[in-house]
């Protein structure tokens, strides 16, 4: 009886081995609504792996509305930043450990405002991208 059970177990194991998955792409998107509900920031971190190359990308969107009863329409800022590979480790840390309070404050304040000014043409797009990447360094 025991031999039979053992054999069945072996056959089952051979038929369905546990396969480890190799993760080649990760995308985390957090939506941060300010408590007054008038501003929404979406901060996305995307990691793509091709062989040994790892590329992180930050997507930053800012939505605003005048009243809580209004719907959020199209983002007033929509920026995509390819993270400098020197900051890959910081991007990984932020994705795993979350934004620190300082990073969160920077994201909804300076990063959002600078991106908004870039959309209005008062600061350059490069400056806005640099400011958004600065979130990782905070």
């Amino acid at each position: 009886m025991y031999a039979k059970r053992l054999q069945e177990k072996t056959v089952t194991k051979a038929a369905a081995p546990t396969l480890k998955q190799d993760i080649i792409g990760i995308h985390v998107k957090f939506t941060l609504n300010t408590p007054d509900s008038l501003r929404r920031v979406t901060f996305e971190l995307q990691k793509d792996t091709q062989g040994q190359d790892v590329q992180w990308k930050i997507t930053f969107q800012l939505f605003e509305r005048a009243k809580k009863s209004d719907p959020f329409s199209d983002p007033i800022v929509d920026l995509e930043v390819d993270v400098d590979t020197k900051l890959n480790k910081k991007a990984e840390t932020m994705a795993d450990q979350g934004m620190t309070p300082r990073q969160a404050a920077f994201a909804v304040g300076p990063a959002a405002d600078t991106a908004k000014e870039a959309a209005a043409g008062t600061v350059s797009g490069d400056e806005a991208k640099s400011t958004i990447q600065t979130t990782l360094k905070k």
Partner: protein, 690 residues
């Protein structure tokens, strides 16, 4: 026995040989792990199979057109592995499957890399949870019956639903009907939902319509509020006469933020209408009328908590009622209701659950009361007020007696007091989890999910810190800081006109630092507090708009050579203001802000844990029940008002589509005119067009 084993042994070898032969013909290979770091595209891999793992996919069972994501993924089979194509496809899947939630997460993974072929898996996960509502007893019911709503993953803000309903009860017979619900984003008028409910049978009928609105705030003292205008018309049978009523009521309820895990809540309802019955005068207790117009005001309060393995709600309500339009307080009805649920995991996604409810009621009559207002018990629950988010039971429930048949007292039909206790125990014997184990045991998934939770907690901390009085004091210092920056800027501009050109780089660094700080101060002054907080932080010594940098670049680096008294004075003034700012920022109670944020998010974390480890799409549980109920006034003999019921049944739930409970409870001390027990059966189908 030996012969049998040997025969089976041979048979298995034969099967293996056939499989191997088949595999050889079909180039079958043993599964093989993929090596991380492999460039699958450059090495010429092909896609053997592709699939999407999406725990909320069952939401699409009804009412949606073909899923483009599934079709696109199916089309990958047999194609060469191509990174760009997979990323494009991920965008398609996310567009289809990401929900309007706070946390969205997707990963692309590959496995089984044997024979230059591999499988591609797209994992998708979305979640959003209200910290206030997730702390309530009623939220636990939502976790069990509609986890997609508990997780905030049903479509928010706007929907139209048709929810059929059916059931059987010995009193009400087979009944059927349903709800139609519509929700839209509130505009100028603070109403955001409308619902119509109706069901009926040969002996019962209920029609109701409600217009409702709600309010939520993460930081104000009132965390959640609801208002509701409702009309209801019903006819509920007893074994002697029907109880009919029609009323219009306005209801207001509010919930505070959790205090050490407990949510205090309160509410009031004002209603008026008429209540009629077929009881004759001989059936009625003294000071009781069969039919009458009425008006009532109900006030109620309570607390509720939702811990990791139990939920508890305690509520008290008082109704002041009068016949006719005048509020004379002809009667006062008191209701106390305590509901408790405890559940313990007994295996992977298997729970042992105990539900208990203790309810008591008392009516004091100073004038006269319509009989429908008195207590009628049985295996159907009546609510003190109509609400989905706060349920206060207001009648004795005993499942061994059909609905509204537990009402005889020594003075007449309908009790003026009752006590009831109900116990239900269930254990999951079969289940299909919502979130697959592959995902919940994946370290990468858990890390990223944790990261998203930490981010949300820290943003809440920033929001609470921006409400600290010291931060508001800091904001009041900013006009002075701006003035001092202007003075420094003017002094630097004046000095630059006569300065040697060799100081050009030092002037440039100084004016750049002034411009950066000026921009930071302007934003901190003009933005709303939560955004201003980030700017104020950057004005501190290690910030990107640091005032200390302006003092250093102008007052120290530049003026070391220049020795301009105006720059020295302005720089010194700015330095003093910067230090004041820094001192004020340091006084912000970060610990309190952090504790508030952590308390808010602890409910979200707990609910997420339940979604990942306990929620099932479908489950089957045997159910055991025991009830005890007393109705009064009672004497001995046929009017001794205490009954016991015990029984069992089976619960099957298929989340978001069907919930089904059936069983039988025996009346352990039956009285004349009562049955041996009662069969109960309920079936509800859900969200057909959601």
């Amino acid at each position: 026995m030996q012969v049998t084993i040997k025969a089976k042994f041979k048979w298995q070898w034969f099967t293996l040989a056939v499989l191997l032969a088949g595999c050889a013909a079909a180039s079958c290979q043993a599964p093989e792990n993929c090596s991380p770091g492999t460039d699958y595209e450059a090495e010429g891999y092909h896609i053997r199979n592709a699939r999407i793992d999406d725990p909320w996919h069952f939401l699409m069972a009804f009412g949606t057109s073909g899923d483009a994501a599934d079709q696109a993924v199916a089309a990958l089979r047999g194609k060469p592995y191509n990174n760009a194509e997979l990323r494009t496809l991920r965008d398609v899947i996310e567009k289809q499957r990401f929900l309007p939630a706070e946390i969205n997460y997707s990963i692309i993974a590959v496995d089984n890399c044997s024979g230059k072929q591999l499988n591609v898996i797209f994992h998708i996960f979305s979640v959003q949870i209200s910290p206030i509502l997730s702390s309530t007893f009623e939220f636990r019911q939502l976790e069990k019956t509609a986890p997609q709503e508990a997780a905030g993953s049903s479509e928010n803000g706007q929907y139209f639903r048709v929810v059929p309903r059916a059931g059987y009860d010995q009193t009400e017979k087979f009944f059927s009907g349903g709800n139609i619900e519509a929700q839209w984003p509130a505009t100028v008028i603070p109403l955001d939902s409308f619902s119509v409910e109706g069901y009926g049978s040969s002996s019962t009928r209920l029609i109701s319509a409600a217009l409702a609105g709600h309010y939520d705030s993460a930081v104000h003292w009132l965390g959640h509020a609801e208002w509701r205008l409702e009309f209801q018309n019903s006819s509920l049978p007893t074994d002697r006469a029907a109880l009919k009523q029609g009323w219009l009521g306005l209801q207001l309820t509010g919930e505070l933020h959790p205090v050490q895990g407990w949510v205090p809540r309160f509410g009031m309802t004002v209603a008026g209408g008429n209540q009629q019955s077929g009881f004759t005068a001989g059936d009625l207790a003294p000071h009781t009328v069969a039919s009458s117009g009425y008006g009532s005001a109900k006030f109620y309060g309570g607390i509720t908590t939702h811990l990791r393995h139990q939920v508890l709600a305690a509520s008290y309500g008082i109704e002041l009622g009068s016949r006719g339009a005048m509020l004379r307080s002809d009667w006062r009805k008191h209701i106390g209701d305590i509901a408790h649920e405890y559940w313990w995991p007994v295996g992977d996604h298997r729970l042992f659950e105990i539900e208990q409810r203790f309810t008591a009621g008392r009516i004091q009559v100073s004038g006269a009361i319509p009989v429908s207002e008195r207590f009628f018990g049985g295996n159907a629950e009546q609510q003190f007020v109509p609400s989905d988010t706060w349920k206060i039971r207001s009648n004795p429930v005993i499942r061994s007696i059909p609905a509204n048949r537990f009402y005889r007292t020594s003075t007449g039909a309908g009790g003026d007091r009752f006590v009831s206790y109900n116990l239900t125990a269930a254990v999951t014997v079969w289940r299909k989890p919502i979130v697959p184990g592959e995902l919940t045991s994946d370290a990468e998934f858990n890390n990223k999910l944790n990261g998203a939770m930490v981010s949300s907690t820290n943003l809440l901390q920033v929001a609470y810190a921006s409400e600290d009085p010291n931060f508001h004091d800091l904001l009041s210092l900013l006009p002075d800081v701006a003035a001092r920056l202007e003075q420094l800027s003017a002094a630097v501009t004046n000095a630059q006109a006569s300065a040697p050109s060799s100081l050009g780089p030092a002037f440039k660094a100084c004016t750049k630092a002034i411009a950066s700080s000026t921009s930071g101060v302007r934003h901190a002054r003009d933005d709303k507090p939560v955004q201003a907080y980030g700017w104020a932080q950057e004005l501190l010594p290690d910030g990107s708009s640091s005032l200390a940098d302006a003092v250093s670049a102008c007052g120290t680096d530049l003026n070391e050579t220049l020795n301009d008294p105006a720059i020295a004075s302005a720089s010194s003034g700015l330095d003093a203001a910067a230090q004041q700012l820094q001192t004020r920022f340091g006084l912000i109670d970060q610990d309190a802000a952090s504790a508030k944020a952590a308390a808010d998010m602890s409910y979200v974390r707990r609910t997420l844990d339940i979604i990942l480890k306990e929620m099932n799409i479908a489950s089957i549980s045997p159910v055991f029940m025991f009830d005890a109920a007393h109705i009064g006034p009672a004497t001995s003999g046929p009017y001794s008002g205490t009954r016991y019921g015990s029984g069992g049944g089976i619960r099957f739930s298929l989340v978001s589509t069907v919930s089904f409970t059936a069983g039988y409870a025996w009346n352990l001390n039956r009285h004349p005119g009562e049955g041996a027990g009662a069969l109960f059966f309920s079936l509800s189908t859900r969200s057909l067009f959601h």
